[in-house]
Amino acid sequence: MAKAKHWIEPHPQGVYVRPADIWIDPSGAKQHAVVTHGHADHARGGHGEVWATPETLAIMGLRYGTDAGTPVAYGEGFERGGVRFSLHSAGHVLGSAQVLMEYQGERVVVTGDFKRRPDPTCAPFEPVPCDIFITEATFGLPVFRHPPIAGEIAKIFARLETEPDSSILIGAYALGKAQRVIAELRRAGWDKPIYLHGAQVRMCELYEELGVSLGELRLVMDTPKEEMRGQIIICPPSALIDKWSRRLPSPVTAMASGWMRVRGRARQRGVEIPLVISDHADWDELTGTIRELAPKETWITHGSEDGLLRWCELHQIRARALAMIGREDGDDG
């Protein structure tokens, strides 16, 4: 059997697969790249040749103006330089994929970002048995346990009941989080229009085109101020404290992110309703997945790698941190 150490090279810029001359999620422009999903810290523009799911290519098209690339559906793959690549659902956002690579009898999985919780806007995570599991660890500390989403969504309704004249402004990352929050609001029975900040519109439209229905969406800009009392508005996290929010009547700010689990972090941002909703695996999902797959080795790309490394050490699991750059613990938590 080949030793992954010889054919897979972790670099600060991404994972390089030498026999195939392909990078996975490189942070700079490369000749050949497999892209796991559309978030900016994984999908950069300017690559020569790109392999990704059709949804990810469409998202990259929206972001960078070009959707050129080879679409690879879940469960399908291609071969290059003797390495067999295939994509498998990661459950993170629409189109997100794990990359399975098979080379001379050895199986390596790169998760990109993933989660195990059900999400009405994307396909569920598929556990892929492997020898080397290359995982993210955004929430790689035991303080991060995401509660069930229904309870978080209920916080919004509770607030609207006690303050029916306010408008609830939810900060949510434009790709994935926004659509998931909208879909969960729908599932909880909210059938009024949901209002969007201009920066959220195109991604929501793309989700609709790709078959994820989000109900009636309206633009804040087109709506008279008074009409937004008692309504729910979705905006990018940066707009929560921006001048933009002044156009809303009695706004109450909420923010959907796994980081909201820590009170200080919510307070720092002036968030009044912290919604612990994340598209990343929490501590139990991370450790549970490693247990379930029982790989020979676990490599950690980004996040709180120290915490997950320590857990691996305690459980006598071989692990190493790859220290990838440019994967920030930003608002897509």
Binding site: L141, F144, R145, R263, R267, I273, G307
Partner: protein, 523 residues
Amino acid sequence: MRRFAALIDSLIYTRSRNAKLAAISTYLRETPDPDRGWALAALTDSLDFPAVKSSTIRNLAGTRIDPELFRLSRHHVGDTAETVALIWPEAPDREQSDPTVDEVVQALSSTTRATAPDIVASLLDSMDSNSRYALLKLAVGGMRVGVSARLAKTAFAQAFAVPLDDVEELWHALDPPYVALFRWAEEGGKRPDLSTTPFFRPFMLSHPFEGDSLDLGAYAVEWKWDGIRVQAVHLGGETRLYSRGGDDISAAFPDVVEAFDRAGVIDGELLVRGTDQGGEAASFNALQKRLGRKTVSKKMRQEFPAFVRVYDLLIDGEDDLRLLPWHERRQRLEAFVPTLNRDHFDLSAVIDVDDFAALETMRAGARDAAIEGVMLKRRESPYLAGRVTGHWYKWKRDPLNADCVMMYAQRGNGRRASFYSDYTFGCWTEDGELLPVGKAYSGFTDEELKWLDRFVRQNTLNRFGPVREVAKSLVLEVAFDSIHDSKRHKSGLAMRFPRIHRIRKDKPAEEADRIATLRGMIS
């Protein structure tokens, strides 16, 4: 505990005062005794469980969680109690119960240092993460949810539609969980009997004087001292010293407390003596060295001896004087004070002046370190709780002014979160360097705030999180009550009550004031 935990969390995330009031009053109305009383005590930091320390909790975490994982998590979260609350392992098969606040308080107060870990652990096991957080904050104190004693009392008064003054008075007379207080407020029952308890009586407060003249036949004049307002109480054999907000500050001023041994309640200004002032009252800056201490060393007591300059007498022996007019209380006061220990109590003099113009000159000329202005008290007024119009006026010395240059701006809180509303400003050194001399977030109109916000956004040089460094081009005329030496700032100066007086769009930054000029204003 779940309801209490939900209250704590809603207070943590709410910035608006009204919303905080509403959350607390709803809780007080809907929660039974004695839970609500314990909750009230916890919010105002009036509970103490000496057997449970922050280290107890940290050590406890080590019994369930790998110390290295705990260290990493603590580093990330930044607060020990919260880290433990979040990280505490939940046994999936275990049914979570929801103990009452009373059960928790009883358990915590019956622990010793030795049994504390086991008792806290079993409580943690029975709770969800938010309740664990509330439990740990309750156990070690320091809720830090932005609720002052005043706010809690206001919420109580609002909850049961009772007068705030009554709440103020009864509150200080009763111990947690205040069952008698709730019974009185809720059912209109008998007022609890307070005759022998050394509790706090609400202060009579003043309005700023804004008129042109005043009939000095009807109003008496006293100096306004620049210390802190205190009430010393000696009743039922016990002595207490209370601050303006009704907080018990006896522990910080044992010298004053020990010296007050005659039955009565006095109102006055707490000051310290300064060597520079020849043993007379020193500036507020000197007093600050003794404020906010839980205990006070012998050295401190010697270096900054504290005393009360007394100006009113509320209770003399068994007589409540509060309904008597000021001049009658003053007579009793003048007989009362000389019987007290002279090192720690003296009488605030009445200024002998009968012509308003002469008073104006005196006020303007007063540059004593401890004088802040004058007080005007109507001779016929009883001692009334709170700020009632027409009785007492404060007439402060004119504020000092300096032209400063805006250096940094920070976002405000709550309603002001989208505005850069907190400004750091500086003055020039002799070498032409700009050093910060203060920070202000008030004094401007809404219109001016909008203008300042726009200025900050258009003149940003650098961003550091919520702070922006701006081009050093805008002159702000800053008003302040006084200025003092300070080791905390590089400029060596600290202002008292700085506020933005005017935006000087007309003035070039180079012409703003120099540090040396400000230094000359130190009193």
